[in-house]
Amino acid sequence: MVRPYALTRGRTRHAGEAFDLVATVTATPGTVTDPAALAPEHVSVLQLARVPTTVVDIASDVDLPLGVVRILLADLRELGLVAIRAPATTAARGVVDKNTLREVLNGLRGL
């Protein structure tokens, strides 16, 4: 077994702006100019982000600890290969708006 933080070369914090667990990650239509900069795990993460996917779904799919996935994502963002966007519903004041709450309520009732 590989020590999880070996993948991140010992880094436990990522660079750049912090992002939420349910932030949406989307691969940008960019090209990898320097494939040597990427570990196989970066490539796996990048492939999952070809459709907009949340940070937590990516962590679950690649079966790597969340902290490691965050660092890999921040690397990809620095290389301009992914865009990470805050959850739409919580952008304002960190509170879910009432219209969305009602939609959630209706959705749950319909389950």
Binding site: Y5, V22, P35, P52, T54, P87, T89, V95, V96, L105
Partner: protein
Amino acid sequence: MVYGDSDVATRRHRAIKILLAGGFGVGKTTLVGAVSEIRPLRTEEPLTESGIRTDNISGVERKTTTTVAMDFGRISLRNDLILYLFGTPGQERFWFMWDELAIGALGAVVLADTRRLADCFPAIDYFERREIPFIIALNCFDGARRYDPEDVRIALDLDPGLPIITCDARSRESAKQVLIALVEHVLMVADEPVAP
């Protein structure tokens, strides 16, 4: 290598977080599994100062991270609206995880076992201090003595307006009702005038 597709890239996802807190063995995993597609998620967090104090790592000097397993479930309510449930470990040493989960969360459910009510004190305290709306769900285990929710309110010194409901964490319908009760409560709180 070329990645991305401008059509999907413009799609707007809406992800909602609901936290499920409570003591060890209270039924968090059961409830998440009853109502959602449960998925594995682990976090391997660097040991913090406080973590080092609680985790005895003497003789394992190279261990610098600690694994926290979380229950994580997702419910697709609509194509673009997904509900994420996070079952969070109740002990105070995991609060660093809660801080992260709590930001922008819709609200929280504190799952309680009436035989071990004190186990949910830290969670109640946490959500009250951060003004995160929450409800209490009493998981009625087989053979467990059923308490009147009002007795629990007195025992936990809870606000009269705070919903306390009973549930069976194994039942999909019951778990669904817990989530509905939370969202109704959050909507009601949102309508209240802000205290001066």
